[in-house]
Amino acid sequence: MPLLELRDLSVRYRNRGVEAVRGVNLTLDAGETLGLAGESGCGKSTLAMSVLRLLPPNADISGEILLDGEDVTTMKWGRLRAVRWTSAAIVFQGAMHALNPVQRVRDQIAEPIELHSKTEYSASALRKRVHELLAQVELPAEKGDSYPHELSGGQKQRVMIAMALACEPRLVIADEPTTALDVIVQAQVLALMSDLVAEKDIGLVMISHDLAVLASTCERLAVMYQGSLVEEGLSAEVITNPQHTHTQTLAAAFPTVGDPGSRYAPATSTTLPDAVPAPGDELLRTSDLHVTFRTRGVTHAVAGVDLSVRRGEIVALVGQSGSGKTTLARTILGLQEPTSGQVTYDGKPVPRSTRGLKAYRRQVQLVLQDPTSALNPRHSVYESIAEGLRIHKVPGDEREHVAAALDAAELRPPQEFMPLLPHQLSGGQRQRVVIAGALALEPKLLVADEPVASLDASVRGEILALLLRLRANLGLAALVITHDLGLAWNIADRVAVMYQGELVEVGPVDEVLNDPKHDYTRSLLAALPTTQPKETDLASG
């Protein structure tokens, strides 16, 4: 008997009308690992939550969900409570928000044991059990006394995994367990999960939008698209020989670093510029830039950075979270005052006066990570783009400027997009609006902070291609901040690797990524999940 069997499962949300999950059939045996891939909104999280009937009350489930041969959809409430966490447990998405901030993690791990365990645990036995669980996820026992905010992202994710394992479930469902994590931590968490599956003979369903992550941990892959299962098979086969067009898009979206075919060629259906224009003279330079924060001790967010961007050049600033790359970007834009050192633009130091900064900001524009929150939900596309024009009182017909900017960001025809509100647009379109808002001021340099990190895989390539075309057509220089080495490989001319506030390695992309000199760059590259199936040993950081 399979551990989990879904028979013709459909889920419909009453207020939306469309079926979120349509007739999915899946089976999973004990000790097996299954990766569930798909873009946001494809129904993969709904599918996962339906296994434990954790969906909101307005969801209608049809079909059968057999957990150890027992149908979850018809279970009585008491039986369902008993099954939750003891037969199947979930590692929730976003460990930052799934932990209670005012409880010690020890108590949070103990909670499911106290609720579900059939044998009474004494206080000391419970403590011992929590220590065991912490040891399983490779955390020292003292960490149990910490509060969630005292732990790093990776540690929090481990706590979540420990919680899921607390009642020794036979099935673990991990919903985007590594999305918010750095490559190095991601590799560690993935290795941990594969080890646990092998050791305890549990079934694992892992959900992600990143095929590479799934392929490196799971034996089988299932790809969802608009609620239906479009492809299922062994990981290696799905990755190397995708059948469905959607799988092909997903597989192509994340390039293999070092593959010459994807150099200057992000996955896109549009045409890419033929030649890579040679960069001009130096546009922006930071010299010995320091930014120090003095809240709760001294933090050297940026510790002596020398970085230059030339006209028409795309530079990728790579580093893990907390490496100071966002602070560096904010300092370059004048949103953060440097402690020492200076930023020069076009040979002149960047002014600190309000008036001087305003003029400077016409030249240098920012594109933020999450386009959903970067646009005022009350402003239409037109108003968002015209905002910069109005601030700078740009002469000429405002409407024409807006139309031109929309056109440059490839939102065509512009008239159709102008009256729309952000929530009426898709994620990729929103990011184009943010880019159009920046382009309206005809800047020379674009500072993009993780421009595609919150976008779906298929949109990622389109936005990156847009950046390449803007460079080719308008001579726009860009400083792209990212944790994603694949992005640097896709579009950047030069890459700067940042580690603990310092640039440890700067150079042309081909050189740095093919032949890294610094240990940190090497470990970053080693931690990249490969699309090779898991037989090849997973590198751990």
Partner: protein, 304 residues
Amino acid sequence: MTVPKNQPSPRALAWRRRGAAFTAGWREFAKQRAGLVGLGLLAVIVLLAILAPVITDREGLDVTKATGDRMESPSWEFLLGTDRPGRSVLLLTLWSARISLTVGFVATLLSVAIGTIIGILAAHYGRWVSAGLMRITDFFLVLPSLVLAIALSTVLERGIGTIILAIGLTSWPSAARLVRAQTLTIEARPYIERARALGGGHFHVISKHVLPAVLPLVFVNTTLAVGSAIVAESTLSFLGLGDPDPMRPSWGSMLRSAWLDSAIIAGAWWYLLPPGIAIGIVVLAFTMCGRALESVLNPRLREG
């Protein structure tokens, strides 16, 4: 780029969108019976208060021209009886509505305006501006507002203006705290950072992004605050700090004279109850309206 001439301007589109949003909001409001009842009551009361000079004769408020007897019980001539000098209580209650509502509205506007400005400035500028403004707010918050209002009314000349000032100056701190909290959450949104990076200054950020997002909350707060301002006005008038002119009565001063004239001992319930019930109804109506508005503007409060 050529622009088709028949296309409406973005400004017109924005107004049209606001109109549509208003209609949708109204539809949501209309679903709430309590809110509708409150709004209906308010409409009737405000209309009566505005039309008081048209449908009644102000001369009836003049004690020297009073036609009734001393504390006459309700009759066909005086539906709600008369007070001690012989004036109609119905007439008094009607004219009192004018003063009570005016004080309620103006004092609330004053307090919400002060609160909104201080709250937004404190949250926007942060650091020492915030520290300074919030300490001032705390100062007003811990002062017993009634004592402060009494002190103010004794120092300043007695009259409506003083009462409005006293209520306005004592009731703004809670609005300031509320607006500050809301402003802080708005200011943390990335689109504020984007506006700054576009070159927008303080005024731009506040007027284009913060204020429109804070206003709905302010609006709800205003509606809820009018009721308490009316109660505060009645309290001050009852304590004898209101307008001394008998030609300008308010519900509070009616209660005061009923008390001074020992209406209860005389068994003149018609003298005491109408102003009291009027205060109750108006406050209730504002609260029902305010709660309904709140749930329209904050969908999370809606049930179901």
